[in-house]
Amino acid sequence: MQEPPSYDVKTIDRRLFDFMLHTPKWFFTTSAGLLTVFGAGFVVFISMLYFGLQFLGYSHPVYWGFLIVNFVFWIGISHAGVFVSAVLRLTQAEFRRPVTRAAEVVTIFSLQAAVLFPLIHSGRPWRTAYWAFPYDFIRGMWPNPRSPLVWDPSAIFTYLISTILFVYVALLPDLALARDRAEDPVRRWVFTVLALGFRGTSRQWRIQAIAGILLSAIILPIFVSVHSIVSWDFAVTSVPGWHNTVFAPYFVIGAVHSGVSAVVTAMIVMKWAFKLDGYITADHIDALARVLIAVATGWLFLLFLDFSFGLYGEESAEVDTWMQRIYGGAWPVLAPIFIITSYIIPVPLWLIKSVRRSFGWMFVTTILVNIGMWLERYMLVIPALERKSSLTFTYSEYIPSISEGILVLASFAFVIVGVLAFCKVLPVMPAADIREGALLSTELKIGRRSVPATLRE
């Protein structure tokens, strides 16, 4: 049962801006720890600039590894934000309200983490910047538009920019609120600038609302295109195990699966960290869990399609790739873990209502999902390179190195630190949105029962 709006405007603001205005101790310790991890990753990166990529586990002919896996993983996570906020906004789902901002913030930082990896892993990063941003007009040296690696940055940066816009538009009223609540002048000044003079006139409200709707409508195609293009990095080639037409929707739905799970995790952590009981309630994660059940099942169907139509051709290398994905290297262990954690454990549990509504359970299951989905990316990307053609002479094994592991951890640290910092300087809970929700939620008398209801114009 969704509890009736028991709080007035003042309490909303006080509790939502609490973390912004006063800092608890754990904030410093956590961020210090995370920053050291990130620093370690940075050191590895610098040393790679100087010594070449010899520290990575790459070999001939397996030239992509953990870094690309992680790139795909973060792109996947980044899909949560837009999916949750845009789709739910369009479908006017009420439970979205406290969720959206968190989701979008996760998107922004995971996207940045993602774009780092293609840069880091390339042989000459200092030159790689140039195909992401073609600037060389004099010599007429342009990137090759046929390469998916040129589609990637275009799609990703479009996505990043539009997401930031999206967040900013939704953020305006809260910035205005923060401006009015902030004590110290610096902060006030900053918020004044950022709020763009949002005073809450009905015209401003209308524009803000329309902009939100429009942006979410526009952003949806981008959201689909980004991960499709990422999937095409692999699928356009004729490499068996990569070249499967189902890849695009498969990656997209997998991304939503992992992304929404990540958002649930993030929400639960925020609730615990920022004491947001009453804002993030069982209803919210319950609703998200229902979405997850559908998404996960769809994802499983596409996994089945990928598998069956991969083997369908009965090309020797294709079959070998799948054998490698199941029996090769560490996969006898990893493959079961992958499927169990990403589907077999979570989904049946989510079918149970009490699990869906328990924060502890959802925390654990969503974490499991993302472990599984990380492995899924590993499974999709690497074994295909270990079994590339019927020239079995070049069949190889990929063994990741420590520095790759460090870089992966560093990316996680980066995202968490980013989200924390965001929460510190900007209102992470959409106060205005929540207030609107509070206004719109009423009750409806039906016979003897009174049912919670929402207002729609």
Binding site: V224, W232, N244, P249, L305, D306, T442
Partner: protein
């Protein structure tokens, strides 16, 4: 067209109101005409079974027709369940008339069985069944699809029991009465129906996905060496969703136009929301087609390119282009305009185009497959087979069966009310239209 005044709604749902079957003026003429054509269709089917035993090519167009029914009429009911699962407030009036399509869909089973019988052996060609050889493909496919049809019908029946039991519906035969499972409307029975309909609906979705994957592979992909596309079943399903919505729109439009006791319940909100769905699916269609096409073009594996030349580029170019225009080009550039989405008749027009386009698409997909001789091996298909145009009997077959579908639908809709009474009442309960300052707002209750 009627706009939903809440007051009117309240009046129409006064306690004495009871749902009724179709009341179409001079319906008998329509019935007679459709009946004749339907009979023709059946005759054509029998002739085919008798004359051409296991000549696969002669079943090419029937198969295409079946795939078309699969993606239109068999998919239409899904929308009903989707709105039920997501508790979309606008879906109440159209749930039943969508669900009714599951009965005509049943009949297309008659086409599936003989054409399945003509499939060649699985040895020496790629197939989803790999090494497995027991009762595949024919039996397995027939089973899944049949199961799906039955589930659909059962679901339709289950959700219409309360209306049927509430009397005033012409149910003479004892069988139909017995199927009512002596409905008393106890709380237990209500809960049963609600949950059952929810889960059966989900189950139906899964069966549709799996069944489509099976038949599209066994009667499509696996018959053209080198055609290997994991996304194809999905493409088929999604175009099916689009066509399903289109079917519902057309049905809704026709019924509210010709049946006075339906008209009041259909309003703009149905049009707008169905229009949105249609737009979404139209976009998705293109996405899935492109995801399929661009990869094969880019990788340029000879075998796949050869298959694409058959399906898209060379051999079946005309059906392909017709299908592309009908499914994507025309609908998309029409529906993106709000005025179109607000007018039911415009939507109905577009939907008709979509349904026809979908048929052309099915033709270019399954006729080459069913009429292809060299089905064995993995290598590229060469030389490319020629295009197979429909002959007179094919055309008669298609016309007849299309008529049969309509005939059956109308026949059923006469008995079973096309507006679900109990759900309309529920909808009216959970919803209140009140005036608030200027303009009126809507109160939606979400019971848990």
């Amino acid at each position: 067209m009627a706009s939903p005044e809440p007051a009117a709604l309240a009046i129409k749902l006064r306690p004495s109101w009871k749902p009724k079957g179709l009341q179409v003026s001079n319906s008998n003429v329509v019935f007679a005409g459709l009946g004749l054509l339907a009979a023709l269709g059946l005759v054509m089917l029998i002739l085919r079974i008798v004359s051409s035993g296991d000549d696969r090519a002669s079943w090419a167009y029937p198969t295409a027709f079946f795939m078309w029914t699969l993606s239109t009429f068999a998919t239409a009911p899904l929308v009903a369940y989707v709105t039920r699962l997501t508790r979309g407030y606008w879906g109440y009036p159209i749930r039943r008339l969508a669900a009714l399509w599951s009965i005509p869909a049943l009949f297309s089973y008659l086409i599936l069985l003989p054409s399945l019988a003509t499939l060649p052996s699985l040895d020496g060609r790629a197939s989803l069944w790999f090494g497995f050889r027991f009762g595949v493909p024919g039996f397995a496919d027939a089973l899944t699809i049949g199961f799906m049809f039955v589930t659909g019908a059962a679901l339709m029946w289950l959700t219409s029991i309360p209306d049927l039991a509430s009397g005033d519906v012409r149910l003479k035969s004892p069988i139909t009465r017995s199927l009512l499972m002596n409905w008393r409307g106890t709380t237990k029975q209500w809960l049963l129906i609600r949950s059952a309909s929810k889960y059966l609906g989900a189950f139906y979705v899964m069966l549709l996905a799996i069944g489509t994957t099976q038949v599209t592979t066994d009667m499509g992909q696996s018959l053209i060496p080198g055609w290997r596309s994991g996304i194809f079943p999905l493409y088929h399903i999604v175009t099916g969703f689009q066509a399903g919505v289109a079917v519902i729109i057309v049905t809704t439009y026709l019924l509210q136009k010709f049946s006075p006791n339906i008209r009041p319940f259909i309003g703009q909100e149905q049009a707008v929301n169905l229009g949105r769905l249609l737009l979404a699916f139209t976009l998705l269609d293109f996405y899935f087609f492109w995801a399929d096409y661009v990869l094969i073009w880019y990788a340029g594996l000879p075998s796949e390119i050869a298959a694409m030349q058959v399906l898209i580029a060379d051999v079946y170019r005309i059906p392909f282009i017709a299908g592309a225009f009908g499914i994507f080009v025309i609908p998309f550039f029409a529906i993106i305009f709000n005025p179109v989405r607000r007018r039911l008749w415009a939507l109905a027009l577009i939907s008709t185009i979509i349904i026809i386009g979908n048929f052309f698409d099915r033709v270019r997909l399954f006729v080459p497959a069913m009429s292809n001789e060299k089905v064995f091996g993995h290598g590229p298909l060469s030389p490319l087979p020629g295009v197979v145009w429909p002959n007179v009997s094919d055309i008669l077959f298609i016309v007849g069966w299309a008529a049969l579908m309509a005939f059956v639908y109308l026949a059923v809709a006469r008995r079973i009310p096309a507006i679900s009474g109990w759900e309309m009442r529920e909808g009216a309960m959970l919803r209140q239209e009140t005036h608030f300052e200027r303009g009126h707002i809507m109160l939606l209750a979400k019971p848990e």
